[in-house]
Symmetry: C2
């Protein structure tokens, strides 16, 4: 990850692209509906204040503007140059712009890396040309962007033909897809939620989605960042951007597609096969408090809610409703999400019940339709929820009433409450024409038609708040520098390496001869576990290379022969170093721990319960390395099978502290090991009863080329 100031400089270098003060369009068209014509038509229509310089060798004017025959003839160096010419001459156009000193270049042209190897080479030349002169390049094969705040529309999206975005919105959209980015913008525009900046990144030859998020995180005009992603290609900028946004308390809501496609990718080791890279992205997003939306509609719901800039670190929901059913529906949704709906104080309940005997003032507070006829009741009920209930978020369900005759008195009462307590998040579940919705928004209320969607959005605000309030993570444990062998080591060597990082393994001894094995077993006490010992056999169970419950001397002798015989048959070329004899632990909970190298994010730790939990239920959790014990505890606490570690079914609670220590050390070990470390697989790890530690019974360290 780049240092703060480095990444900040990197993000700032996007300003000529995202907020240019002058623009040249190479391949400018006089026709406002052509690719090279739309940006000019849009900027003229929206009164872009900077110079617009069409480049077109065949025309003196373009859409009423003076045209220039070439980049060289431009009267000034533009902040940004748009390239809208065929692929064959696009690289030259980029070179000319960069050489002229243009610091931002946007390439609409397609036919590069997305097409074939020749296109990939041309794209590389294009980026080299830009970088040689310190220019940033958006695209190629992108739909461009718009920044409505300054009337800046370097895009050939047709969407502006059906309406322009508001210039005063505080939501920025970053999308890897052009067509889908347009869809998002149109939905956002029609809902009027204030998405006034939208960037599509196309092939990401230079500028990545991470760069755009980082720029938006540092942009004073942006409060909320909504991201549509298909795959994160580069970690450094993405991670720095998420850190910048979090530190600036700017919520990032992200929809990432490709769960199914990525899930099908061939996995390189046992634990990696449990979940694809999507799970790693999920873990990275959780690390930075990014809320991942399940649909783009949900993404825009959450972005809209975030424009109020109220992010309760300890979110609680109070519901005031004219429908008992809606109250139950919202309670269901809140409980499913884990959004608390504490009860109103008893004294307040009694007072409200006395005021309106038919009411149900517990929370949800059902003030019944009667309250609509008497605004003073609304004042009492909603007021009590804010002052006495103390809810961080208040959801009012008045549906079509906001558009009815009683809507205005209702608005006055609820607006007064919001004005008196502006620190709360207020949401109206209401249905009405846009002008009514705008009035409620002006009074401090978000407006949603659907109560379930409103509840999801409110919950997300609390998740942002909790992430912003979270204490800085503890540093990872320090482990000594450990030199990895050149090739994948045997189990015994792997365990010795782990021991250097104080990662505990089950007591065991490597034995070459059968007599050594018997001696080791006698020393440990029966029963023991016996395993084949070879650097060439990673998955011992699969060849019958592990014997459990070896009960006496005779069994050790027979086991020694069996293991060597099986290994010799299953892997004739394998180097056999003997057998491992280990104490057989009893009473522990079987877990797994491991490391996988993600191609984008580097080493990633995985933790789960063993056996059916991992194999049948895929109940595992991931985290980018390294991390401290606090994070390790969070991971352990996030698995569904947690009750088993906590002592379900009459067991003693397991030593979660020891597990967390081990997991954090493993993450530090992996982080310092460097890219040669392909994976680590500790399976099983026995979590013994509290105070008795955690031990890996098997360890595989896979070293790459």
């Amino acid at each position: 990850m780049p240092q703060g100031s480095q990444s900040s400089a990197r993000f700032a270098s996007l300003t000529p692209v995202l907020a240019a003060r002058s623009i040249a369009i190479v391949g400018a068209s006089d026709e406002p509906d052509r690719i090279g014509g739309r940006p000019i038509a849009y900027m003229l229509a929206q009164n872009y204040a900077g110079a617009i310089m069409p480049v077109n060798p065949r025309r003196a004017t373009v859409q009423g503007l003076r045209a220039y025959a070439s980049v060289a003839e431009l009267p000034e160096v533009p902040d940004v140059g748009v390239v809208a010419v065929p692929a064959g001459i696009a690289v030259d156009a980029v070179s000319e712009l960069a050489a002229r000193g243009t610091k931002g270049i946007i390439v609409f042209t397609a036919g590069f890396a997305e097409m074939d190897a020749a296109g990939e080479a041309a794209q590389a030349r294009m980026v080299a040309a830009a970088r040689a002169h310190g220019a940033r390049l958006l695209g190629p094969n992108c739909l461009g962007l718009f920044n409505a705040r300054i009337g800046y529309y370097p895009t050939f999206s047709a969407a502006m033909q059906t309406g322009y975005p508001r210039p005063d919105g505080r939501i920025g959209i970053a999308s890897q897809s052009g067509a889908y980015g347009t869809h998002l913008f149109v939905v956002a525009r029609d809902r009027d939620i204030g998405a006034s900046l939208c960037v599509t990144t196309g092939n990401e030859a230079d500028v990545t989605i991470g760069d755009v998020i980082g720029w938006l995180a540092e942009d004073d005009g942006t409060d909320v960042i909504a991201v549509y992603a298909e795959g994160i290609r580069e970690a450094a900028s993405f991670l720095a951007a998420l850190a910048t946004a979090r530190d600036a308390r700017k919520p990032v809501v992200l929809m990432k597609v490709g769960r199914s496609a990525l899930g099908g990718q061939a996995a390189r080791s046992h634990t990696a096969s449990i979940a694809g890279n999507d799970a790693v992205t999920e873990a990275v997003l959780a690390e930075f408090g990014v809320v991942r939306a399940r649909s783009t509609e949900e993404m825009l719901d959450i972005a809209y809610a975030a424009t109020r800039r109220i992010y309760p670190a300890a979110n609680t929901l109070g519901v005031i409703t004219i429908s008992g059913g809606a109250g139950v529906l919202i309670s269901d949704a809140a409980e499913t999400l884990g959004l608390a709906m504490p009860e109103m104080p008893q004294v307040a309940q009694e007072r409200l019940k006395a005021l309106l005997p038919f009411s149900a003032p517990r929370n949800p507070v059902d003030c019944t339709a009667q309250a609509i006829n008497d605004p003073s009741l609304i004042r009492e009920f909603a007021g009590a929820m804010v002052t006495e209930g103390g809810y961080a978020s208040v959801l009012a369900f008045f549906t079509q009433i906001i558009a009815a005759a009683s809507g205005m008195p209702l608005l006055r009462e609820l607006a007064a409450i919001a004005a008196a307590h502006p620190d709360r998040l207020y949401v109206m579940c209401g249905i009405g024409p846009p002008e009514i919705v705008r009035q409620w928004e002006a009074a401090g209320y978000l407006v949603f038609a659907d109560p379930t969607r409103a509840t999801v959005a409110i919950h997300a605000m609390g998740r942002f708040g909790a992430a912003f309030a979270r204490a800085p993570a503890a540093p990872p444990p320090s482990v000594p520098a450990i030199a990895l062998p050149a090739a994948t080591p045997s189990e015994a060597v792997a365990k010795r390496l782990l021991a250097q990082a104080s990662i505990g393994t089950v007591p065991e001894r490597a034995c070459v001869t059968v007599e050594e094995a018997v001696a080791a077993a006698e020393a440990f006490g029966y029963p023991v576990v016996m395993k084949i010992l070879s650097p060439d056999i990673l998955h011992k169970t699969e060849i019958g290379g592990v014997l459990l419950d070896v009960a006496d001397t005779d069994a050790v002798r027979r086991g020694h022969a069996t293991l060597l015989e099986r290994a010799g048959r299953a892997a004739p070329a394998a180097r056999l170093e003997g057998v491992l004899v280990a104490r057989q632990l009893r009473g522990g909970v079987e877990c797994i721990m491991g490391i996988n190298r993600d191609p984008v994010f580097g080493p990633v730790a995985v933790f789960g319960l063993g056996g059916v939990f991992v194999e049948v239920l895929k109940d595992v959790v991931f985290r980018r390395c390294p991390f401290g014990e606090d994070v390790a505890r969070e991971m352990i606490g996030a698995i569904r099978g947690l009750p088993l570690l906590r002592g379900a079914r009459g067991r003693k609670p397991a030593d979660i502290a020891a597990l967390a220590r081990m997991l954090a050390r493993l993450s530090a070990f992996a982080a310092q090991a460097g890219p040669a470390l392909r994976s680590i697989d500790l399976n099983p790890v026995f979590a013994m009863p509290e105070g008795e530690g955690a031990y890996a019974a098997d360890a595989v360290i896979d070293i790459g080329e």
Copy 2:
């Protein structure tokens, strides 16, 4: 459940309430905005064809209509009478209407069973008065209903003040909540999906939500039934209604709230504590192919999609898109739902790829934005999907393009395809003004803005189709009539009762003396299981009353003493009948099976995997009794832990056929046992390897008062 003709007569008796040809309003108001005024104002505005007869002793005319001083003075017997007078005189109004021969009565008035015991008694008198004359009664405490097809508005909902529903819609809404029913109607009206009938059932003193569903199922004007429910109070009518709807191939989509509240209800036995009554309702809905919506928005999405009346029994989805990202997003959603998206035939892919080299014709079929400029490409691509791909459902993602200049040529091409193959379900993911949306709908396309919501709705159509196409369930196995004892029997007696229904238990012997126990153990072979034997100790494990792995004669002797000692200490008053000695099964998968009596739906069977699966993961499935082996197999196939029964982790596959036989017999046993049977708990049940059977190792039969 009533017989078909009985239930049909019951549903038909609602016609005077839901489609009255004449109406009296008792408590009619001259003011069109009062409760007794709104129905009249609405019906006048919507040209209700029948007689409207206001009853008001203080006025000669009401809203321009002749008023009558009393029910007795009405010039004719109205089909329906609306009661909109204070609670004190509402019962009399009902009596007078019923005595006069009115066959439908709608009571707006509140203050009955929802209030207190006196109100409950008054409500009972009201229902008795109606029933004495064969009248059906909707309410009390309900908002009424509307049936826009005949301009019939016996409702005091204010919602009509902001607009009336279409008279030609084919969706009927049944809602237990008045306020939320109004919300639903307003959302449906504003989306113009064709909800032209909406009934709210209030206190359900007589007419229940089941009755309304049944009437809608038999109504020629209704194609789709959308239900908002808070709790099912009565099983017979509800079950008959769902059966009627299924047999008529009318989809029912239902949103039921109260998961969280119901989950908190105290449960009466071990297995009941795993999930509340909501899980039973869920199972009943699944039994009849009802789709349960997660939100009311989703409910209306699905109802809207169902208006096309295309329910593919084997649903497959073909996606044509101008955005690759949207294609991936939809693929993700489809995979999550389990909606198949098979690949296009190779030959078709090659032809399309040749036509448009940048396209990706696999499925999703990305025809890129280029296709928009050449309608003949759309024809080729979409045509190939229908004829060669053969998809049951086609989702086209063209977003704002439908409202752009290229929208009309696109419409022409896609309309022609829909007209040529009208048996498919066509959905346009598009954004445009209402008039454009209506054009697409007229061309045979459903229109959704959000692709995820579109995918969910398409998937639901396939679920309806599969339910409609499902073969009739096999009959439950016949079990002999078994006389239950008067009180909860001991484990040994419970097992003998089950044996009469051929429900297998682990071989065991009841032993009074320690010598009998030793003899039994020797006969079975070691190890054995020993348990305390007492009709008064149901949950033996909790008092340490079960000993596993009893390995030899000495251990049997010690165990006998231990069990008697523990039982005497933990339950001094319990009658001790000795100990049970049982063979200890090895190699089986631990399951649970049981019966719980649901207060509404009667005996309900539960199945799950034992141990952590049931206790930590609540991985269980429910079904109303009785049922056959086919249903039992479906239940077993629905648990998340199924791979364990299928032979995960190197085990042999378990004897699922034997489990299914056992479960079906248990359901038949419970169904014939009558209401005295409170619950049965078989835990654990060992599913042995294929061909080796399934055996209950413990059995509790709980007999109620």
